[in-house]
């Protein structure tokens, strides 16, 4: 079974540019999460999708970040325009739907560097 995949693995952009990160969850996983770890800080929740619907986007830093999950399959996270403080590792995770607490399966992360 293929795990969660993320693309690209590493992105270097200049301040003010736009970057789009992609996440492909495990097939059949309706829950999809985005997290971020900035240098020296903890991994922080950004938002959560169930299928194509955003359920909780309380962790999104500001309106420069836009996440979508059209069709309920893969998700994209766009940063526009990027700022220096957006540098970090962006993780995607997925899990099946259910009433219990389920394990989240993480992707390898995308390392974003804004110069």
């Amino acid at each position: 079974e293929a795990g969660v995949t993320q693309f690209p693995s590493h992105s270097v952009i200049e301040k003010g540019q736009t970057v789009t990160l992609r996440c492909d969850p495990i097939s059949g996983h309706d829950n999809l999460y985005w997290y971020r770890r900035v240098m020296g800080k903890e991994i922080k929740f950004l938002l959560h999708f169930v299928k194509e619907s955003k359920q909780d986007e309380s962790g999104m830093p500001n309106n420069r970040f836009l996440a979508e999950r059209t069709g309920g399959t893969y998700s994209t996270l766009k940063v526009q325009p990027a700022e220096l403080e957006d540098s970090g590792v962006y993780f995607c995770a997925s899990s099946p739907l259910g009433g219990m607490v389920y394990e989240q399966y993480f992707g390898p992360g995308t390392r974003l560097t804004v110069t």
């Binding site: 997290y35 929740f45 959560h48 169930v50 359920q55 909780d56 607490v101 993480f106």
Partner: protein, 113 residues
């Protein structure tokens, strides 16, 4: 607000020595706690969850609600245990189900020969 604290950034032990990675949490609800591990050049993966009360790779963790702790322990460290360990608190997302994780800052465990 919920919070997870891992006081040690780095823990260095000798092979065969006992290991204890500390984790304390703050949460007003009923806590669901996990330990995640990230080995070098690998992705973050679940090590164990408190509700399962299981031992994985020789590691155990007991939830102590009185002390609000969920320390990770192993009686005899192995070289392959060297990794970054994250304690995480699961918060239910009320709309639509699912749960979001609040992580500690992580502890790098280094097992020396």
């Amino acid at each position: 607000a919920q919070r997870v604290t891992q006081p040690e950034k780095l823990l260095s032990v000798f092979k065969g020595a006992p290991v204890e990675l500390k984790c304390n949490y703050s949460y007003s609800g009923s806590p669901e706690l996990f330990w995640y591990v990230q080995y070098s050049r690998q992705r973050l993966q679940l090590l164990l969850r408190h509700i399962s009360r299981e031992s994985i790779k020789g590691f155990t963790a007991d939830l102590n609600k009185g002390e609000t702790s969920f320390h990770l322990k192993k009686p005899f460290a192995q070289e392959e245990d060297s990794a970054m360990y994250y304690c995480a608190l699961s918060i239910p997302i009320l709309t639509g189900g699912g749960n979001k994780l609040t992580f500690g800052t992580g502890t790098q465990l280094k097992v020396e020969l």
